[in-house]
């Protein structure tokens, strides 16, 4: 384990200890602020019945499927708008309008259309992930030297080969950066969708805890969301490093 990880773990343990001390010293009532031990008990209870796993899985599925769909759509649109600027000029006001509306405002209509299942949350997450990826991809492609277009023409590359071998690798780093920014918002979108109406998911669990005046369940759900959010962020970062190593070191060199 690295030093950074050890440091992080120490901080988390200290925070848990502080939490326990506050509960004991101020004698906080358990229905408002249960001690870490009580939360841990709730945790194992929920995990034991398999409920927690189901909630986590359904939120995770929404976030992953939505992010993937949003990222693919964003990448394609960013590419398309760069290749066909007319299309970009026609559609960008519409996209901007959709982008300026708070995503939460879109959630009720999605629930009306798509029901209480995974679908409306996946769509909401996709909408959230779409914009930063599209903007990133478009900006990345706009910055590519015109000579690369000439190169593609000289080599008589097909549109598909050019997309796969030249445009996509150039668009990927800024698109990934967009996705990393979007990953926390994607979690929010999934939870908001679940809060508004769901039968599974951590957002649903939050609602359940609140209705039953069970702060332990609410806190357990929040902690799970923290862990998930962190894992997601790390996942995107690792994927970035794995696939875009050439770019990362290039950036580091440029900054040095």
């Amino acid at each position: 384990m690295g030093r950074a990880a050890l440091r992080g773990l120490t901080t988390v343990l200290c925070a848990l200890a502080a939490w326990q001390i506050i509960v004991v010293v101020f004698q906080a009532p358990a229905y408002l602020l249960p001690s870490p031990l009580v939360v841990a008990q709730k945790f194992s209870l929920l995990a034991g019945t398999g409920d927690l796993g189901r909630h986590v899985l359904s939120t995770l599925a929404e976030v992953l499927a939505g992010s993937l769909a949003g990222a693919v759509a964003g990448l394609l649109c960013g590419w398309l708008f760069t290749r066909l600027p007319v299309l970009g000029r026609l559609l960008s006001p519409l996209i901007l309008l959709l982008q300026t509306a708070p995503k939460i405002a879109i959630a009720p209509i999605l629930l009306l259309w798509l029901g209480l299942g995974l679908a409306p949350k996946v769509v909401l997450v996709a909408i959230v992930a779409f914009f930063p990826v599209m903007a990133g991809a478009a900006a990345g492609l706009a910055g590519v030297d015109k000579s690369y277009r000439d190169l593609a023409r000289l080599l008589r590359l097909s549109a598909w080969t050019r997309f796969r071998r030249i445009d996509l690798p150039f668009a990927a780093p800024p698109a990934f950066a967009g996705l990393r920014i979007a990953s926390t918002q994607a979690m929010t979108a999934a939870v908001v969708g679940e809060l508004m109406g769901a039968t599974y998911g951590l957002g649903y669990l939050l609602n359940l805890g609140q209705e039953n005046n069970d702060a332990g369940v609410v806190i357990a759900a929040i902690l799970m969301l923290c862990v998930m959010g962190w894992l997601l962020h790390e996942g995107v970062r690792l994927a970035e490093r794995r696939f875009l190593g050439w770019h990362e070191s290039q950036m580091a060199q440029a900054q040095a």
Binding site: D145, S147, Y148, D150, L151, R153, L154, L155, R156, L157, T161, R165, I166, P169, L244, W246, H247, S249, Q250, Q253
Partner: protein
Amino acid sequence: MIHARGVAKHFLTRGARVEALRPVDLDVARGAFVSIIGPSGCGKSTLLRIIAGLETASEGTLTIESAADQRAGFVFQDAVLLPWLSAEENVRFPLDAAGVPRDEGDATARRLLALVGLQGFEKALPRALSGGMRQRVSIARALSYDPPLLLMDEPFGALDLLTRDRLNDELLTIWTATKKTIIFVTHSVEEAAYLSDRVVVMSPRPGSIKKIYDSPLARPRGERTKLDPAFHQLMADLRRDLA
């Protein structure tokens, strides 16, 4: 192998007709090393891009004697390498895109990297290479599909003088070894005089051919060439025409 007759280029910007290149006649023999020299905006790059097929002539006819499917090799002022590919992969890129088998592409890439003096750098990414080395990779890439014609658009313009001199000599070695026809666009009088069989001088806006010199200098070129009075006479003539 190239015959241009009345090749001209104009385009419309906001309704106004801009002449980029006035009608030019130019013949380039197979295996020749021809330089095109002129001030910025004289249309020398435009002429090269028309020959490359990157732009279409507005007027005139251009005949290139080569098999119909044969593409010209092109070297840009910047190396235009794909930064995520190694030197070897960059050289192999045109072959990969054309579906040439992997081992064949590998062998060609290695041979060409050796030809441009980059053996041992096959696995290096472009950012690990100097500007001169990147341009060598770019030349190797242009040669990868064995084009009969190599078009170079101020290929060494962004390099320092020492690197430039060395690459000029290496380019001549490559030219001798591969027997390509080379059209070399430059704004350096010395480069044009040193390298070429023929030097085409262009005049500024709207561009046209002012004069064509057949070089009196012997081959192979080298240090002795630079001491040859004829070399200095040619440079003086070129400078006078460009002034």
